[in-house]
Amino acid sequence: MMNYFPDEVLEHVFDFVTSHRDRNAVSLVCKLWYRVERFSRQRVFIGNCYAISPERLIDRFPGVKALTLKGKPHFADFNLVPQDWGGYVQPWIEALARSRIGLEELRLKRMVVSDESLDVLSRSFTNFKSLVLVSCEGFTTDGLEAIAANCRFLRELDLQENEIEEKKNLWLGCFPDSCTSLVSLNFACLKEINLVALERLVARNPNLKSLKLNRAVPLEALQRILMRAPQLVDLGTGSFVLDRDSDDSETYRKLRGTILKCRSIRNLSGFLEVAPRCLPAIYPICLNLTYLNLSYAAGIHGSELIKLIRLCGKLQRLWILDYIGDKGLEIVASTCKDLQELRVFPSDPFGAGHAAVTETGLVAISSGCPKLNSLLYFCQQMTNAALIAVAKNCPNFIRFRLCILDPTKPDPVTMQPLDEGFGAIVQSSKRLRRLSLSGLLTDRVFLYIGMYAEQLEMLSIAFAGESDKGMLYVLNGCKKLRKLEIRDSPFGDMALLRDVGKYETMRSLWMSSCDVTLGGCKTLAKQMPRLNVEIINENDQMEFAHEDSQKVEKMYLYRTLVGPRKDAPEFVWTLV
């Protein structure tokens, strides 16, 4: 019946279909729908920049306005992927510019961005509004100058955890006086900033809702900025210290007063340096916070941290350092009844010794916060009993990432592997999409995962398993698996080659320090031409004997429609 509607109607209906997965599904219904959908699609998500080419993107979606691109594999975050592996955004920007695409938003993750790319970007798209760079590298503040100076309608500049070379401290001053459209600005990852330019910028951008400062912004400046921007919803403080010989009480009083006027703040982060005695100034904000990120706030601990937590009754997302300890987590459990996401990061071990967290804290959280659905937990140890309790208390996990700091540690009470504990988690959380394992684990845990984790899309394995069977359970059982990354586990060619077709249903597979051999990888590459099977061999290439029986140190394979990439460095061999 839909065929009798004019295209415009179809298009209008499709407007309500926003998730890219749904739109992908829509496009598969019939040729008509495919056609209408592709011309009306504005937001495109490309999870692997090497799976497709910019030309093909432009060809299919000429109306694209918002593009997300991801580059390096996830394990690049942990130094497992060498420099210069790839992930360059330059060809994308050039192609989009050449084709006069009306790009408005660009979101990049783990990509290499050059100053030149930023320059071309800033000058090629008149309506460019939003640039979000996450864990990217390769650019300097020169590139930021171009963005600031040339993007006349910029609304969002969000720099998250990038490695940026800081040359001159001028870029903020390059926003013209006519720039009044900013809604979101995040430069927390920089070390320096031009304070005067910052204050002026904030003053003339009344729509600013999200502002994340860096550690070069002292408390006095923060107070002045907040005075000009009481409408902020999302605040990242810089340095929260007062100068020793400035007039402390006066500044503090002013700060308190200013903060009381900031009634809209719901997300708070920063505190890159802290003078604890100034913390009470933010207590009034705590009552309404839904997101609190203290994971860089090494200076807030002990009783100060607890005081803060106790005030945050409405918290839904909490990121903290393990200073909080098990006792602190108990307080979180009793205070933050709406908690959905918790991330506990490891801190300096030279702290107070009891700074780290164990299974006790996690169990406490699970019993106090039944809405918990997303967890990242770095801890000293974990027990099966605890995991089973957590599984029972919280059946709604979507993301469950457990990182025991000693990666092969068994249950310290029973000395057993943690198979049963993780098994309980996957069995109870039927909507689990992402899982990271650690601790001592045998093949059994993978049996459980294959059996129960039906919605699992991403699995991270390290130092786990006993034989190929483990990997096979997963490949066989997890029908929705998209990303599998494995390190230091005894999986070899037998597992790799059992079901080669599986990899075309996935985005990528990473295996490092496993037992797959060059021969196995070659076989796979031969059988599956639409996979790029990359061997990353950064060590002395001469010594790599090219024998098929030799184990491969790092293998990264991904499905692609455009064959081996042309920008691979010397140490990356794409097998064909």
């Binding site: 975050d77 942990f78 130094n79 497992l80 060498p82 420099q83 864990s135 590298e137 100058e145 100076a149 955890e161 490695e163 001159k168 001028l170 001053g173 390059c174 320096e192 002292p218 210290v241 007062l242 100068d243 340096e273 604890p276 005695r277 860089y296 090494a298 200076g299 601990h301 200073y323 990061f345 801190s347 300096d348 071990p349 030279f350 702290g351 770095f378 990182c403 700091l405 000693d406 990666p407 092969t408 068994p410 592997p417 990271s436 001592l440 991270s460 390290a462 130092f463 006993e466 230091d488 586990s489 005894p490 037992d515 061999n537 950064e538 060590n539 002395d540 790599f544 030799q550 184990k551």
Partner: protein, 312 residues
């Protein structure tokens, strides 16, 4: 199953320390990690190094966390050649860029990467001893012939990429690890040393924490970044700054050239030229800093002027 290998800690200082024997995970003799290598730790109090006497088959706690000592952080900050990676043969350190910390390569013999590179994360000294329990039923990787040729031992084994924390976060925590929190209540002075920095002609002052730098080089380059906007000037009229000849070392040139001199006021209230005394002595006695025009520096002691000339 590849077991995580234990490797030496990267040299944190130029002191020669005995190299640690990387040891197998399984029972090949006792594990003789030289934990006295904790003298590498440049000054963070309160860290213990419990003797590890676990006998056989214990994987050392791989509690590698992101915090690190200040000395460590200084080197990262400066990205200078302070790190000594001696005897690494063909390996290269991956510096700075991309947030990669040093990771010697070519550690393993046998022609292929052993998969475990050291990165210079701090080790979990003072962390609980790994339970001497179940050794998983895997055959350990044969110990490589070539031991890591690093000059300094690690107190603990290191596994690259573990725990899985983003480089950015690791670097960030390393550079700004928590101060000694004995008496941190309210005192901004505990463990940090903020001094004012003024520059002749600049509209406002800055503050720097001298404790975050390890050398004059570090301080100098940090100051140059802080104050570059004053010396180099604003963007040109159409918003894009001209690039002719201006680069980040301009202020450095200015400082080490003749236009500006870096001076400090010491405990006695005298204005001294920065650079004469050892770094530690300087941080002890410095109360404030001033980037002074050379023309004004004539008022300093004659030796200062002479030094000034000699620096060109």
């Amino acid at each position: 199953m590849s077991v995580p290998l234990e490797h030496d800690y990267i040299g944190l200082s130029s002191e020669a320390v005995p190299s640690m024997e990387g040891s197998e995970r399984s029972s090949s003799g006792g594990l003789n990690l030289n934990l006295k290598a904790t003298e590498l730790r440049l000054g963070l109090p309160g860290s213990e190094s419990p003797e590890r006497d676990n006998g056989v088959g214990v994987l050392k706690s791989l509690l590698v966390v992101s915090g690190a000592k200040r000395g460590f952080s200084d080197a990262i900050d400066g990205a200078s050649g302070k790190w000594v990676l001696s005897g690494n043969g063909g390996s290269e350190a991956e510096l700075g860029k991309g947030g990669n910390l040093f990771s010697p390569r070519g550690i393993n013999g046998g022609g292929k990467g052993g998969g475990c590179e050291c990165n210079n994360q701090n080790t979990g000294l003072g962390s609980p001893v790994l339970k001497d329990g179940v050794v998983p039923p895997q055959s350990p990787k044969p110990l490589q012939e070539k031991k890591p040729q690093l000059s300094a031992p690690a107190a603990k084994a290191q596994v690259v990429g573990w725990p899985p924390i983003r480089s950015f976060r690791k670097n960030s925590m390393a550079t700004h690890s928590p101060k000694n929190d004995d008496d941190a209540e309210g005192k901004s002075g505990s463990g940090c040393l903020y001094v004012k920095v003024s520059m002749d002609g600049a509209p406002y002052l800055r503050k720097v924490d001298l404790k975050t730098y390890g050398s004059y080089m570090d301080l100098s380059s940090a100051l140059e970044k802080m104050f570059s906007c004053f010396t180099i000037g604003q963007c040109s009229s159409h918003g894009v700054p001209s690039r002719d000849g201006l680069n980040e070392s301009r202020l450095m040139d200015l400082l080490s050239g003749s236009e500006y001199v870096l001076t400090y006021e010491d405990k006695d209230g005298d204005w001294m030229l920065v650079g004469d005394v050892p770094w530690e002595m300087f941080t002890d006695s410095c109360k404030r800093l001033r980037i002074m025009k050379s023309s004004e520096a004539i008022g300093l002691a004659p030796r200062a002027m002479e030094k000034c000339k000699n620096r060109n």
